[in-house]
């Protein structure tokens, strides 16, 4: 018998060591299937460096009441505090957040240092840390997940010490809808940071060649959109890049509101996406795909890759693609056009929340959250529309984050789902597959398919209510 072990096994050991060493490093950028937005954009981009003028030493010593905008009084006992913040920002947005944390640590006069840790498989890590008692001081969180994380004892309410840092009127600086998302049972659980709406990316060169006027900062009307499709088609290029999976599901949620419907009733207790508006939305997406786009499907955003090849007029996707796409000179940015009857879009929102209930830690974290909110124009450079109204209105925004300034209007077109634990999953997990099946032609009766999905959503929503309700 040949002793294969003599030469084979040692070789294998060496091989496996080499390969797993490589593997460890490259394993972090999958086309992550079930993960919702915010992590997929590759490679960082240069952005106009807008160093905020450093405060003169005297300024920060002024009493709190006279503090200039952008500085805060230091709460007692925060000196020397080290705050750890987790987030799901594993793309270039994570680098931007780390840079902001470093700058805050260097500049703040309260002696607080912040370290930002972007976590792949963020939600599992957060839950495991909660179970094992290893939570950081605070975390960035998707708005749709706040309710469940509160029910599951991960997030802690802002105490009086932390709220004092923000001042009394902080809430009025945000759109009402965004601010109210962070309030549960009378307690404040989160501060809005940004909104990421579904927007339009278009090819300037092809638009020019087809004689289409570029869109402004207001969404196109339906006439303008249909006119553009016709002109692009006439000029001999592919008008639209429309896939399935995430993109189609996000567009479905935008269109259902454009046709005057909604995913649920106002209380978030009944699934209503099988309404006439839902059927119209689904049939419209299929029509657009059948008429104006080649067969693109699959996870990992193949529709964006197709758009990047430069032979297609426009596509719709999340702003986390901005930092990658703005490296291509031909790409323009605009709000999602009106495809149905009225302007509306899909979007999500990142919030900042506390995972510690220690008053001093909370206060120190609040100082950083306040600073970050004041400076969220720079966070916009990472591809997010700031949540703060004053920052959105800041004329400076267009120099810090030009593409964001062009789509900032979209943020007002977003309707976040009602705050109920697990609601997004209860809806999306059911209508998502139906959309894909309908677009693939496996299902032909849109109404019947949506009815069935909505009934299932209803069942899951009721289960969630019994799980997380009182």
């Amino acid at each position: 018998m040949k002793q294969i072990t003599h030469y084979l096994l040692p070789l294998l050991v060496v091989f496996s060591m080499l390969l797993t060493a490589c593997g460890g490093g490259t394993a972090t950028q999958p086309p992550a299937a079930t993960d919702l937005p915010a992590t997929e954009a590759p490679a960082a981009t240069e952005m106009p460096a807008t160093e905020a003028p450093t405060e003169a030493p005297g300024a920060t010593e002024a009493p709190a009441t006279e503090a200039p905008a952008g500085t805060v009084a230091c709460p007692e006992g925060v000196d020397g505090m080290a705050i750890e913040m987790w987030s799901p920002f594993t793309g270039p947005d994570g680098d931007e957040m780390t840079a902001l944390a470093d700058r805050f640590s260097a500049e703040n006069t309260c002696g607080i240092t912040v370290s930002h840790v972007a976590q792949p498989d963020y939600q599992q890590k957060l839950e495991a840390a909660a179970a094992a008692g290893g939570l950081p001081a605070m975390t960035a969180v998707h708005a749709t997940r706040i309710a469940a994380l509160v029910s599951r004892n991960v997030l802690k309410p802002f105490g009086p010490e932390a709220m004092a840092v923000f001042g009394d009127d902080f809430g009025s600086e945000f759109p009402e809808e965004l601010w109210s998302v962070g309030e549960i049972k009378g307690e404040r659980y989160s501060i809005p940071l940004d909104v990421h709406p579904l927007i339009m990316f278009y090819n300037k060169d092809l638009f020019a060649a087809a004689g289409i006027e570029e869109p402004g900062t207001e969404p196109w009307t339906r006439e303008e959109f249909e006119d553009a499709l016709a002109k692009l088609e006439a000029s001999g290029v592919t008008p639209l890049s429309l896939g399935n999976a995430f993109q189609a599901a996000a567009l479905f949620q935008a269109l259902i509101r454009q046709y005057g419907g909604s995913l649920t009733d106002e209380a978030g207790a009944t699934a209503t996406y099988n309404s006439e508006a839902g059927v119209k939305a689904l049939e419209k997406i299929k029509e657009l795909r059948d008429k104006y786009t080649p067969d693109i499907a699959g996870t990992g955003d193949p529709e964006v890759n197709f758009f990047k090849e430069g032979n297609v007029g426009m596509t719709f996707h999340g702003p986390w693609w901005i930092s990658d796409l703005q490296k291509l000179d031909f790409v323009g940015f605009a709000p999602l056009p009106t495809i149905g009857d009225q302007p509306a879009t899909w979007g999500g929102s990142h919030h900042l929340a506390l995972t510690s209930d220690d008053p001093a830690t909370q206060a120190a974290a609040a100082v950083w959250i306040k600073w970050l909110s004041d400076n969220s124009a720079e966070w916009a450079a990472a591809g997010q529309v700031p949540a703060r109204q004053s920052v959105r209105d800041d004329p400076n925004l267009s120099s810090v984050a030009a593409p964001i300034a062009r789509v900032v209007e979209s943020a007002n077109m977003v309707a976040l789902p009602t705050q109920a634990a697990g609601l997004e999953g209860a809806l999306w997990d059911q209508f998502g597959p139906v959309i894909d099946a309908f677009l693939a032609g496996d299902v032909t009766d849109a109404k019947a398919a949506l009815d069935e999905a909505a009934a299932k959503s209803q069942q899951v929503m009721e289960e969630n209510l019994s799980t997380y309700g009182d």
Partner: protein, 311 residues
């Protein structure tokens, strides 16, 4: 002087000592037993315990005992998990049909080829085994890039030669084909090396005797190689069946369970229920059910293919 002669009595203890069980064998298996108990035995038992509750590890205050409800739900068409669970189970079954034959058949062919005598044989053996040492993430992301519709390697080549390429990861059966190819490439090395070792155990004299009797190489393969590989074949089939039934990482990373949940396997579903939806009691019940199913399959496999071997 009469002395009472006591009948010779063997103390009970020494009687037992004759049958005394040696501790040495147990010491030998102790390290494995320890890890087995800690990482398989205990989790399995704890899983059974969890499956009797509506369980969320972050909400100890809300953890009602529900008895066998989590199991009963799996057989109640009106329950929340019913459709998704059975969809997952049938998808897993479909993947087993796709994957087991190539994983066993190609491995056998490779093993026979690698068992011949030619220069560079050792290098080829290493090359065919190498992918097995990768993590599922590396293998899946690699094949995602090869199969993805826009700019992926396969479709670029197909377009280049003027074909209209299918949408591998977004359509059926393209998604299963892509996942099967990725899985075969990734794990074929393990089965191959098992077959290779078994081939080398077959005495050369059998082949010599057969060739003297005038058997050609095809007859030698069918009448000597295959029968001699029988017990290894049962082992490889069982291992492959179990590995295929545990499919999760490849669809998670390559298709996201799509298109339309068509590649959402039962393990994927358990992950969604337990980790994403925090219904851990239900996920545990699903796991136990699948484990029992796999144990039965393994039993049948050994019963039908393995029994005559031992005589």
């Amino acid at each position: 002087m009469a002395t009472k002669v006591e009948p010779l009595r063997v103390p009970a203890a020494s009687q037992r000592s004759r049958k005394k069980i040696s501790i040495v064998p147990y010491l030998f298996i102790a390290p494995h037993l320890l890890f087995f108990a800690a990482f398989l035995g205990w989790p399995f038992l704890y899983g059974i315990y969890i499956s009797l509750f509506k369980f969320d590890f972050l909400r100890p205050e809300k953890r009602p005992f529900v008895g066998l409800k989590n199991y009963a739900e799996l057989f109640d068409p009106k329950s929340v998990p019913f459709d998704d669970f059975w969809n997952g189970l049938s998808n897993t079954g479909e993947f087993i049909l796709w994957s087991v034959l190539p994983l066993v058949g190609i491995a056998l062919v490779l093993a026979v080829l690698l068992n011949r005598n030619y220069p560079g044989r050792g290098i080829f053996r290493t090359i065919f085994f190498a992918p097995y040492t990768l993590s599922v993430t590396v293998a899946s992301v690699l094949w995602w890039w090869i199969f993805q519709g826009q700019g992926g390697l396969v479709n670029n080549v197909l377009k280049g030669i003027g074909l209209n390429p299918p949408n591998w990861l977004g359509d059926m059966p393209g998604a299963w084909i892509a996942i099967t190819i990725a899985t075969v490439w990734w794990t074929i090395g393990f089965n191959t090396i098992i077959f290779l070792t078994a081939l080398q155990e077959i005495p050369k004299s059998l082949y010599e005797a057969a060739s003297i009797d005038g058997a050609n190489s095809q007859q030698q393969f069918m009448l000597i190689t295959i029968p001699m590989l029988r017990s290894v074949m049962v082992f490889v089939l069982t291992i492959t069946l179990i590995a295929s039934a545990n499919l999760f990482g490849q669809p998670y990373l390559m298709t996201g369970g799509g298109p339309a949940e068509g590649t959402q396997t039962v393990i994927y579903r358990i992950f969604i229920e337990g980790i994403q939806r925090s219904q851990m009691g239900r996920a545990a019940a699903m796991s136990i059910f699948v484990a029992v199913l796999l144990l039965s399959l393994t039993y049948l496999n050994f019963k039908f293919f393995g029994s005559s071997q031992e005589q």
